[in-house]
C-alpha cells in the first residue's frame, strides 16, 4: 500500500502520473480523462459517449493509496456500477485490489458508494447529474 509520502497518484490517459512529488491529502482535485481502453476489463465502456464530469471523493484507504482527496471521472448520465468502477480504476489504478475488486466489477466488500453525502447506492444502475459527487467510504462505520 502506498502511503501519502509516496509518489503514487492517479494516472492520466497515457498512464503517466498527473501529479509529481509528494502527494498530499490536501492536494487539489485532479481532473483525469479516463482511458477506457487501458484496462481490458473496461473495454466495453469505450464508445458509450461518456459525458458528465463527476467528482469522486476519496476517504481513508482510498485517499492514502492515491494521495488525493478527490478525482474527477467522466460518466454517461445513466451508467452502471461496473462502468463507474472501471472509470475509477482507469483514473486511479492504485485503488485496484485496495478499494476496487481486482476483476474491476465492483468496489471491494468493505466499501460503500454514496451520492452527495445523502444516498447510499447499492444497485447496479447509477444515474448522475452534472455537479454530482460520488463518495467512496468504508462500510466499517463507527468506532
Amino acid at each position: 500500500m502506498a502511503t501519502l509520502e509516496g509518489t503514487n497518484s492517479c494516472r492520466g490517459a497515457d498512464g503517466t502520473s498527473t501529479t509529481t512529488g509528494v502527494a498530499s491529502p490536501n492536494a487539489p482535485v485532479t481532473t483525469v480523462k479516463p482511458a477506457l481502453g487501458v484496462m481490458p476489463a473496461c473495454a466495453g465502456m469505450t464508445g458509450r459517449g461518456a459525458g458528465i464530469s463527476v467528482k469522486v471523493e476519496l476517504f481513508g484507504t482510498a485517499r492514502l493509496a492515491t494521495g488525493k482527496r478527490s478525482v474527477e471521472v467522466s460518466l454517461p448520465t445513466n451508467t452502471s456500477r461496473r462502468d463507474f468502477v472501471c472509470a475509477l480504476a482507469v483514473a486511479c489504478p492504485q485503488l485496484v485490489a485496495h478499494v476496487i475488486r481486482p476483476d474491476l466489477t465492483d468496489l471491494l466488500e468493505g466499501y460503500l458508494l454514496n451520492r452527495g453525502g445523502r444516498t447510499f447506492l447499492t444497485g447496479d444502475a447509477i444515474s448522475v447529474a452534472p455537479g454530482d459527487s460520488l463518495l467512496i467510504i468504508s462500510n466499517q462505520a463507527g468506532g
Binding site: R118, S138, G142, G143
Partner: protein, 624 residues
C-alpha cells in the same frame, strides 16, 4: 468447568478480608460474561440507592469465557459500577493482558467492596506453594499518590520486580474523584466511560496488581485452535481494512463530509479545520506506529507523536478522543489534540466526557456566563489550544474552574444555571460521543434510550445510518426495532467478549459465536440462545436503572438537539423534534415488549427468565 471458573473473588477493602462466591452455571449461561455477567453481579452486589462514591458501590472486573482462549481480540474485560456521572448502570470495556491475569487470579470476576482507610495497592497472586487459592494483599500505596497512570504502573511493576505483573490504576483524576475518571491498565489502556476511576478513587484504591499462573482450559482445544487460525485470517481482510489502515481516526473526514461531525459543542456538524485533524493527515504526519491490543490481529491503534516545537507528547489516538478534544472544542492543531489525549490518559480521565464538558464551558465563555476572572479560569474560547491543555490539568487537580468541570457537564450546568443546561450535551449525565444525532436519526434513538447514557458502544445503531437500510435524515417506524436489535447484538459482543471491529469478519455472527461458545465451554448454545441472552442483558440493565430511579423523561436528548437545526451544507435545515424522538422511542419500547412508559412487564421478565435468575438478589425491582 471449561471457559469459566464458576466463582468470583470478593474483596472487602474496609475490613481487608476476602471470600470466594460461587456463580451458578445457570447465571453464566444466561449472562455469558463481560458486560452481561458484570450487569448481573452489579445488580446483585450493589444495594439499591447506593452512593456511587460510597463504600457500598461495588467495583467489578468481569472476565469472559473467551478470555485466555487466544482467539483474536478476546483479551477483554468489563468494569462495572454504579456510575458517579449518571447514578445508573456504569460499564466500561478494556482490552489488555490484565484480562488474562484477572481470569487466572480472580475466577470469573473480581468484586471490590468497601473503602480502604488509607491509600491501597491491592495485589492478588497465587500461593507460591500452590496450596491455596490466590490471595489478596493490601499494601500501602501512599507513595504512589499524585502519580500519573504511566508512572504508577511503572512504580508498581518495579515494586514487585516483575514486569509480568499486570496493573490497573488511577491517576490524579481518580484520586480527586473527577466523575469521569478512568481506570488505566497495562500500558495506558483505559476503561474510560461512566467514571469507574472515580469509584476506584472513592475506595482509596490507587492500583490493582494481578499476577496469575496456569492456563484456562477450553472444552475443545483443537477445534478452538483451528477456528482461531481461521478467524485471525479473516480479521486481516477487507472486513477490518479501515481499522487496520487508519484506525477509527478515519471517521473524521467522512463524518465531516456527511455533516455528522459534532463541532463546537454540537453547534455545527462539520468543521472547517477537519482536514488538519483528519485521520489521513495524522497518519501521514504524526504516526509513530500501529499498536495492538492483547491477542489482537487487527491492530487498530495508532500511536501518534507531536511534531511542533512544544513539549514532545506521544500516545494512542482514537476517533472519540480526536473529535472531543479537536472539532468539538474548535481545535484544529493536531499537536494540541495529541497532547490533550495523552494528558487525559496520564491524568486518568475519559477523553469524551472531558472534551464535551470543556466544550460546554467554552460555550459558556462565548455567552459571557463564565469569564477569565471566574474562579481562576483560563480564557476558554473555542479553538484555544493552550487553554484546553490548561483546563485539563485543572480538572485533574480540581483546581479553580476545573473543580466545577470535574463534575461533568450535567452537574456543572446545574451549578451555573442561566439556561446552560440547554447546551450541556449529555444523556442521563453521560457526555455525548462523536455522532451528530440530528443527521444520524437511528443513532439519535440509540443515544436516547441506551441504559448507560449517551453511548456509542452499547448501541451500534449508527450502523444503519451509514447504510442504505434507512434514510439517516428522517425518522420512520423501523428505528425502534433496529435500535433494539443493535443493542442486543452489542450486548452479546460485549459479553463474550469480541472486539466490535471484528463484527464484519463473521459470516453469521450469532451462529458462529454460538459454536465458539460451545467450543470453549462445552455447553450447548444456539444462535437464538445468544440473541435471547443479549435481550436478557439489556433488560437487566434497564431493570437496574429502574431500581435506581429511572423515569421516562430520562430517555431523551439534550435540548440543543431537539431545538436547533443543523446548518452544514449537506444537512442544512435538518433537525430532530421532540415529537419525532418520542415517536422513535415509542417504537423502541414496543420492539422491546415494554410498556408505553418504558417499563418491563412481568411477562417479559418471565419470558427472559429474569424473575427466576434474580430470585436471590436483594431488592429485586420488577416493573413498576
Amino acid at each position: 468447568m471449561y471457559g469459566y471458573h464458576g466463582k468470583a473473588l470478593v474483596v472487602d477493602l474496609t475490613n481487608r478480608t476476602h471470600r470466594w462466591d460461587a456463580i451458578p452455571e445457570e447465571v453464566l449461561r444466561a449472562f455469558i460474561g463481560g458486560i452481561g455477567l458484570g450487569t448481573y453481579l452489579l445488580y446483585k452486589y450493589c444495594p439499591a440507592g447506593a452512593d456511587p462514591l460510597g463504600p457500598d458501590n461495588p467495583l467489578i472486573f468481569a472476565a469472559s469465557p473467551l478470555v485466555g482462549s487466544r482467539l483474536t481480540t478476546s483479551s477483554k474485560f468489563a468494569v462495572m459500577a454504579k456510575s458517579p456521572l449518571t447514578g445508573f448502570i456504569g460499564d466500561s470495556l478494556s482490552s489488555s493482558f490484565l484480562a488474562t491475569e484477572l481470569k487466572k487470579t480472580c475466577g470469573d470476576a473480581l468484586i471490590i467492596t468497601g473503602q480502604a482507610a488509607t491509600p491501597t495497592l491491592l495485589y492478588i497472586h497465587p500461593d507460591p506453594a500452590g496450596w491455596h487459592e490466590p490471595q489478596p494483599q493490601f499494601l500501602d500505596a501512599s507513595g504512589l499518590l499524585g502519580l500519573g497512570t504511566f508512572d504508577t504502573e511503572r512504580a508498581v511493576k518495579e515494586r514487585f520486580g516483575d514486569p509480568s505483573v499486570r496493573v490497573a490504576c488511577i491517576g490524579p483524576a481518580g484520586e480527586n474523584l473527577v466523575r469521569y475518571a478512568s481506570i488505566a491498565n497495562d500500558g495506558g489502556r483505559q476503561a474510560g466511560r461512566s467514571g469507574p476511576g472515580a469509584v476506584m478513587g472513592s475506595k482509596r484504591l490507587k492500583a490493582l496488581a494481578l499476577r496469575g499462573s496456569g492456563t484456562v482450559d477450553v472444552a475443545q482445544p483443537e477445534a478452538a485452535r483451528r477456528y482461531s487460525i481461521d478467524l485471525s485470517r479473516r480479521s486481516l481482510g477487507a472486513a477490518t481494512d479501515k481499522y487496520r489502515n487508519l484506525g477509527t481516526m478515519a471517521n473524521v473526514s467522512v463524518f465531516n463530509r456527511l455533516g455528522a461531525l459534532p463541532t463546537r459543542n454540537f453547534r455545527e456538524s462539520s468543521f472547517e479545520g477537519a482536514e488538519e485533524v483528519s485521520g489521513e493527515l495524522l497518519h501521514q504526519e504524526h504516526l509513530v506506529k500501529n499498536a495492538h491490543c492483547a491477542n489482537c490481529t487487527i491492530g487498530c491503534e495508532k500511536v501518534l507523536v507531536t511534531k511542533d516545537r512544544g513539549r514532545k507528547s506521544q500516545g494512542r489516538m482514537e476517533y472519540e478522543s480526536l473529535f472531543a478534544l479537536g472539532p468539538l472544542c474548535g481545535v484544529s492543531d493536531p499537536n494540541t489534540v495529541i497532547r490533550a489525549a495523552a494528558l487525559c490518559d496520564d491524568l486518568g480521565m475519559d477523553t469524551i466526557s472531558a472534551g464535551v464538558t470543556i466544550a460546554w464551558a467554552m460555550e459558556c465563555f462565548d455567552r459571557g456566563l463564565l469569564t477569565p476572572n471566574d474562579n481562576g479560569a483560563t480564557d476558554l474560547r473555542f479553538g484555544g489550544d493552550a487553554a484546553l491543555l490548561d483546563i485539563l490539568e485543572r480538572i485533574g487537580r480540581r483546581d479553580g474552574l476545573g473543580d466545577l468541570l470535574s463534575q461533568g457537564c450535567k452537574r456543572a450546568s446545574e451549578v451555573l444555571g442561566n439556561g446552560s443546561g440547554d447546551w450541556a450535551m449529555h444523556v442521563k449525565g453521560l457526555e455525548m460521543p462523536g455522532y451528530e444525532p440530528r443527521s444520524l436519526k437511528t443513532m439519535a434513538l440509540g443515544l436516547a434510550v441506551t441504559p448507560r447514557g449517551a453511548c456509542h458502544n452499547r448501541s451500534s445503531a449508527y450502523e444503519a445510518d451509514f447504510s442504505d437500510r434507512v434514510d439517516r435524515l428522517t425518522v420512520d417506524d423501523q428505528r425502534g426495532s433496529i435500535a433494539a436489535q443493535s443493542e442486543d447484538f452489542s450486548a452479546v459482543l460485549d459479553s463474550l467478549i469480541w472486539c466490535k471491529f471484528l463484527r464484519k469478519a463473521f459470516a453469521d455472527f450469532y451462529e458462529e459465536s454460538a459454536q465458539v461458545y460451545s467450543m470453549i465451554t462445552g455447553w450447548d448454545m444456539s444462535a437464538n440462545g445468544l440473541r435471547i441472552a443479549g435481550e436478557r442483558i439489556n433488560n437487566l440493565k434497564k431493570l437496574f436503572n429502574i431500581r435506581e430511579g429511572w423515569r421516562r423523561e430520562d430517555d431523551t436528548l439534550p435540548p440543543r438537539v431537539l431545538q436547533e437545526q443543523l446548518t452544514s451544507e449537506v444537512v442544512a435545515g435538518v433537525g430532530l423534534t421532540r415529537e419525532e424522538l418520542d415517536y422513535m422511542i415509542g417504537g423502541y419500547y414496543y420492539a422491546r415488549g415494554w410498556t408505553k412508559d418504558g417499563l418491563i412487564p412481568e411477562a417479559k421478565m418471565e419470558e427472559l427468565g429474569l424473575a427466576e435468575l434474580l430470585r436471590d438478589t436483594p431488592a429485586t425491582a420488577l416493573s413498576r
